[in-house]
């Protein structure tokens, strides 16, 4: 369990001047409670970085520190090499912030909301009008542009919430759990649009407690728990970091004992067990071992009816690192 408290050292790939966002040794406490404890990470242009952790892990506090909404007790945040503080404006102009809750004016129309936020980013006149129309088109709300937000559905509000952060063409998009409470269809649409923005070169910092979202969207993931960044890397790297193996289950008939024995001698297969009418294997890079396994089945006269490969996921990684499930 000591692994759960180990901190990940600042990323070795951090290279000042090239990263869009760099957070170094961020700390923040509220009274005696430490919300964020020496957290460091970076996000490169075009990269989507996910902060994955359960509720109360410190994700939102980290986001607020990154956006200058909170002052850090220690550490520093830079965007494009410029420090972010409450009073700085140059660095903040590059950030597009999507709050966890829908943060819009319900008594204003979609267009009025977007125009207002655009003006805060020094857009005006025809440039503002054109950009508002572009964003309305992007979030598919052109036909509802003159309706008040209070008449919108939850999904439409979520889309407008994201749209309001894109008006000024930010270099860094910061999203704080943007799919919480969203129906599956809207969630899919939101995730797709974030993927599109990421592939268009935007640096994206994304917090979530949904493992599937992190795996689908993020190039790299930082796992955060109790205010500490306890692991960081690609999804595969995280899995391999904790030494979890793939599980291959073969439903078969014939000489299952001989088949299991043959599998044990194969490279990359660490364990083979008989279980009812199936054989279960523990393997490293399980999918790569399948041809050899099927050849062993043929060799031992075993007829394979089905094959299932279970790769360890982030849920397993989180469980391994913290001793608790991600959704607990």
């Amino acid at each position: 369990m000591t692994e759960t408290t180990d901190r990940v050292p600042p990323s070795t790939t951090m290279s000042p001047g090239t990263n869009m966002l760099e957070a170094a040794h961020l700390s923040r406490s509220f009274g005696t409670r430490t919300a964020v404890d020496d957290v460091s990470f970076h996000v490169a242009p075009g990269e989507t970085y996910g902060l994955l952790g359960p509720n109360g892990a410190g994700k939102t506090t980290t986001i607020r520190l990154v956006c200058g909404l909170l002052s850090a007790d220690g550490g520093e945040v830079t965007v494009s090499g410029m420090p972010v503080r409450a009073s700085t404006t140059t660095a903040k102009a590059q950030i597009g912030y999507v709050p966890q809750d829908v943060s819009l004016y319900p008594d204003l129309t979609a267009r009025e909301n977007l125009s207002f936020f655009g003006r805060l980013y020094r857009l005006s006149g025809s440039a503002l009008r054109e950009r508002v129309d572009e964003v309305l088109d992007l979030i598919d709300l052109t036909d509802r542009r003159d309706d008040r937000v209070e008449s919108f559905s939850g999904g439409m509000r979520r889309r407008l919430n994201i749209g309001a952060s894109l008006l000024h063409r930010p270099s860094l998009l910061v999203l704080d759990e943007p799919t919480v409470g969203v129906d599956p269809q809207s969630r899919h649409a939101i995730l797709e649009s974030i993927q599109t923005l990421g592939s268009a070169g935007l640096a994206v910092l994304y917090t979530t407690h949904y493992m599937e979202e992190a795996e689908r969207l993020c190039d790299r993931i930082g796992i955060i728990d109790h205010g500490r960044l306890i692991a960081e890397g690609t999804s595969r790297e995280l899995v391999s970091q904790v030494g979890e193996k793939d599980r291959i289950t073969l439903s078969a008939s014939g000489s299952l004992a001989a088949f299991a024995e043959a599998c044990r001698s194969l490279e990359g297969i660490d364990r083979a067990d008989l279980k009812d009418s199936s054989v279960q294997l523990l393997a490293r890079d399980g999918r790569l071992r399948l041809p050899q396994v099927l050849e062993a089945a043929t060799r031992t006269g075993t007829s394979v009816r089905s094959v299932e490969v279970d790769e360890p996921d982030l849920e397993a990684v989180f469980l391994h690192l913290t001793g608790t499930a991600l959704r607990e």
């Binding site: 404006t89 912030y97 008594d107 204003l108 805060l120 309001a164």
Partner: protein, 387 residues
Amino acid sequence: MNAVLAIAAKDLRQRLRDRSAIVLGFIAPVAVAALISVAFGSAGSFHADMAVVDLDGGPVAAGFTTFVKGPDLTNLLTVKSVTSEEDARAKVANGDLNAAFVIPKGFSEAVTSGQNLPITVLASVDSSIAEQVARSLAESFTAQIEAVQLSVQSAVRAGAPHASAGKLAAEASAVKLPEQTVTQPAGTQALTGTSYYAPAMGIFFMFFAIGFGARGYFLERTGGTLDRLAVAPIGPGTILAGKSLAIFVYAMASLGTVAVVTSLAFDAHWGPPLVVLVLILALALTMVGLTALVITVARTERQADGFASLLTFGLVLLGGNFVFIGGAPPLIRTLALLTPNGWALRAFTDLAGGAAWTAAVVPLMAILAFALSTGAVAYSLRRRVVR
């Protein structure tokens, strides 16, 4: 500057879409001023219906009747005839008469023999001004009688023959008592009820800008939009300036509208327009400072509502917006000057009475001092924009 204007314009747009803000800021003060105008519309030309019940029938009683029916009082009252004291009581009770005088039997004889027999004034509790007027008339007449009695007695004691007492009394009664008091306004014209209550009600409703402003701030905070503003490339000071500008414009428009409408439609006198404008601007500035104070003290929207209401009603009660402060005890009049609205009312009443613009200088300084001291709190509020 663009961001300040954007925030102010957005806040004002939201305010204008809020019906309660329109009603409290513009419709209610004008409506209340109109009601007060109707209520006080005839105050400048007071007139009452009265009657004299002469149970005496003597010459002095006849003299009193002649006195109240005299040309000096025709603009003030109409003397109607009644058949008896009971008739007079009934008419006063049902409102046909505002007051009645009952001259008791033996009144003339008592006067000529140097005794006092009082005239009774019957008045309705609903006609307190008429009662005071009637009482004054009766006291004035009896004072004249007492003066005549004193003159005759002095002459007799000085050696005049008793037989000449009647002649002396007739001569003395021809001499009127000297006027003892003369009322003159401080300025060049009298203050009407409309001219007092139009600014008083306008300022009262202007105070609602505090509640709207503070509530708006907490709504932005709980709704997350304040975070969006704080992430934008604008400083906390810009957010504060934008929000302050919205409160300032709303408060100014509210009181300005009341001033214009009551001046044009209800003949309220506010004073020279430029001086009035400066006073309105200073008061609007005070609303900004008070709003900041509420936001600083409150922690939630509900608390902000409570504090704003407390502040509003505390200040308007103390400042004299509900009651004519000139008629209040000295302590209350002094306490009124602890409030910006108290100073403002003093300035507006002086100006409405025709005083020179310089009468507004000290009140203006006091209002600005209030605005500045609460503005100092607003300065510390900057830090609360980013928590």
